[in-house]
């Protein structure tokens, strides 16, 4: 579904991703872990199409097309969803209106029939209950006055509503208490599907206790330096990211000695 090859990305003249390669197949749950400043959020933003990221080398193929050529809205309609690390408050824009406009814009672009307000509200109510969110949220402005936890749950609620093929969660777990973390995990698990893939970017292993990944990758200094199964997350939790760095030094010295 997603094939990232040797991706180099520059932000404000500084190289952040330095040859990142990653393949994700439908039905898979991938976790990306790594220290601060490794380029985790850059990866999420580049995939969603945020401006200000200069791709200097490499390619990203999604469902057989060049993802990097698409506008953010085209990517969304093609099934790419980014749960923001910092969801944006939009005063004056009603949540219901926003969600319906988004869903119908995607449907329209895909050549599907747009939903009327009755059909739309029916779906919304179903999805809200999964995230334990109140109806009242629909009448408020997008993310305005939401607590940190509500914002993150709202991201997952949007994901549930928009039903993407590739969901990227950018540190959705950060700042959540244990109850909110479980709700988010429930929301994600309810969406697991053989046709859907997840890329879960996180700093901590905690979330992965609730969302079991098939693969764990360590992103450090702009590239994937280690990949493994979920046991890798536990090792990282135990030894810290320094452990990876030390092992790399060892690798290099061994390579030098040979």
């Amino acid at each position: 579904m997603l094939k990232i090859d040797n991706l180099h990305v520059r932000v404000a003249g500084k190289e952040i991703l330095k040859g990142l390669s990653l393949q994700v197949k439908a039905g898979e749950m991938h976790a990306i872990m790594g220290p601060n400043g490794a380029g985790k959020s850059t990866l999420g933003n580049v995939l969603a199409g945020r401006a200000g990221y200069e791709i200097t080398r490499g390619s990203v193929e999604y469902d057989g097309q060049n993802l990097l050529e698409l506008t953010p809205e085209e990517r969304a309609a093609a099934g790419v969803f980014l749960a923001f690390q910092y969801p944006v408050e939009i005063p004056g824009v009603n949540n219901t209106y926003f969600l319906r406009t988004a869903l119908n814009a995607q449907r329209k672009r895909r050549g599907e029939v747009e939903l009327d307000s009755m059909q739309f509200l029916k779906i919304v109510r179903e999805k809200l209950s999964v995230l334990h969110l109140k109806d009242e949220l629909l009448h408020r402005a997008v993310n305005e006055g939401f607590s940190g936890g509500e914002k993150k749950r709202n991201e997952i609620f949007q994901m549930a509503l928009l039903e993407p093929k590739l969901a990227i969660l950018d540190e959705t777990d950060s700042g959540l208490d244990i109850d909110a973390l479980k709700m988010v995990a429930d929301g994600v698990n309810a969406m697991r599907d053989p046709a859907r893939a997840f890329l879960v970017i996180t700093h901590y292993q905690r979330l992965l206790d609730y969302i079991e990944p098939h693969f764990v990758h360590v992103l450090a200094d702009g590239r994937i330096v280690e990949s493994g199964d979920k046991s890798l997350a536990h090792k990282l939790e135990e030894h810290g990211y320094a452990w990876i760095a030390e092992r790399k030094v060892l690798d290099h010295s061994r390579a030098g000695a040979a």
Binding site: A48, G49, R50, A51, T71, P72, E73, R75, A76, A77, F81, L82, F84, P87, V88, I90, P91, G92, V93, F98, L99, T101, A102, L103, A105, Q106, R109, A141, V142, Q158, L162
Partner: protein, 430 residues
């Protein structure tokens, strides 16, 4: 260079007519205007609005056929507003199109020759050596006059709808209109000042209105300006707000090619209050210049002002918001905010908040910004599948609509629709 505008309007006939009403006020205003001409760019109050092009244009003084012009009632209609309605076509009061109010305690008179008397009542204003040129023009030429009186203690809940329609003609017309609105002690009134285009026209409209609010009175005024795209509209509203009286003002400036709007509010009595919310949304080569001047003349007066402006393409907006707290007006609370959005690199908005305080105990804050759409918010909407142009419209709409949240729903929806139609790329439906 001689003023083509003034010579075309203040000809011998007009001057004779001004003499004929047995008052020197009108003649004096005309003479002073011919002597001084229109304001020039070095005049601080007109710094951003050049009048040279207007000065060289020729207009007919009033529309001779105003009494019979056909008007589509649809352009005047507002949802939820179906009571008394007074319609003026090219500045001429149309009995046949109007519905006079029947509420006891509310007196309305719209005589075709009422303006001179209203002008005489305020002789000092147009005689002043520093009088505004358009006030003088209005004093010299206004024929029709509107007088609204609400008796003490009378509450008028159903809004009084004033429609000012510009309608086509054989030539470009300049119309002048006077209005005076008086609220007695404890009286309340809802009023809508509605400018509409009944045809594409390049008229010059000049409306001077005086409002007096006696102690404890409450005026709720909605100004909805959607004049013809080629029209020039000059308006001056003077408000005298007495003790414990409240003026609530909502203003939307959407139409006209060039518009100048002076709002002068005197919070004259102790505890007088002003709430002002306004939006201007401009595109093409539209030019809108709003001057809101508030005087806190008494103790414990409050003003709460928030205006927002949007300019697209080559449009230019000006917002001058000046608050003065007079000596002795302690306990005054003055809040002024003006936020603006530029949607095009060729658009321009000039904002000048000004605060002058001569009292000791005052709460005052003012702020003004000119910026572009928030990139983060735009990306957030797009990342959910909302196309760029729709996302821009949604954000600009929200920016403007925030000023009208306390207007009743059917009318608010109408304002939002009107705004949406004015926003960029409105033609490309989502």
């Amino acid at each position: 260079m001689a003023s083509v505008l003034l010579q075309s309007l203040l000809d011998e006939d007009a001057l004779r007519a001004a003499d004929a009403d047995a008052s020197s006020v009108r003649r004096a205003a005309a003479c002073a205007l011919l002597r001084d001409g229109l304001p020039r760019p070095r005049d601080e109050a007109w710094k951003y609005t050049g009048l040279r092009a207007l000065d060289q244009r020729r207009y007919a003084n009033g529309d001779a056929a105003a009494a019979t012009r056909e008007i589509d009632a649809g352009v005047c209609a507002l949802p939820g507003v179906d009571g008394a309605c007074l319609v003026f076509v090219n500045g001429f009061f149309r009995t046949d199109l109007s519905t006079l109010p029947t509420h006891e305690g509310l007196t309305v008179s719209c005589a075709h020759d009422a303006a001179p008397a209203l002008v005489r009542e305020r002789e000092a204003e147009s005689a002043d050596a520093r009088a505004d040129a358009f006030v003088r023009l209005n004093a010299a030429l206004a024929g029709d006059g509107l007088l609204v009186r609400v008796g003490a203690g009378v509450h008028i809940d159903s809004p009084l709808h004033l429609v000012f329609a510009g309608a086509g003609g054989e030539c470009d017309v300049a119309w002048q209109l006077r209005a005076q609105v008086e609220l007695g002690e404890g009286a309340t009134l809802r009023l809508i000042e509605h400018h509409v285009a009944a045809s594409a026209n390049a008229h010059l409209g000049n409306l001077v209105a005086h409002y007096t609010l006696a102690a404890g009175a409450g005026l709720d005024l909605l100004q909805l300006q959607d004049a013809a795209a080629a029209a020039i509209l000059i308006r001056r509203n003077d408000f005298h707000v007495d003790r414990e009286a409240t003026l609530r003002l909502h203003t939307l400036e959407a139409g006209a090619n060039t518009m100048r709007h002076d709002l002068n509010v005197d919070l004259a009595g102790r505890g007088a209050r002003l709430l002002s919310r306004g939006v201007f949304t401009l595109r093409g080569r539209q030019h809108a210049d709003t001057h809101l001047v508030v005087a806190h003349s008494a103790r414990d007066t409050t003003s709460n002002i928030a205006w927002r402006g949007v300019a697209d393409e080559r449009a230019r907006g000006v917002f001058h918001g000046a608050i003065t707290v007079a000596q002795g007006a302690d306990g005054a609370d003055a809040q002024l905010s003006n936020k603006n959005l530029l949607l095009s690199p060729l658009a321009e908005i000039d904002t000048q908040p000004a605060l002058e305080i001569y009292a000791d105990e005052v709460k005052a804050a003012h702020g003004a910004t000119v910026g572009e759409l928030d990139e983060q918010a735009l990306f957030y909407l797009r990342s959910r599948g909302i196309p760029l142009e729709t996302a821009r419209r949604v954000l600009v709409g929200a920016f403007c609509n925030a000023m009208f949240t306390d207007i009743a729903p059917p009318l608010r929806a109408h304002l939002e629709t009107l705004l949406a139609a004015r926003l960029p790329q409105a033609g490309e439906a989502a």
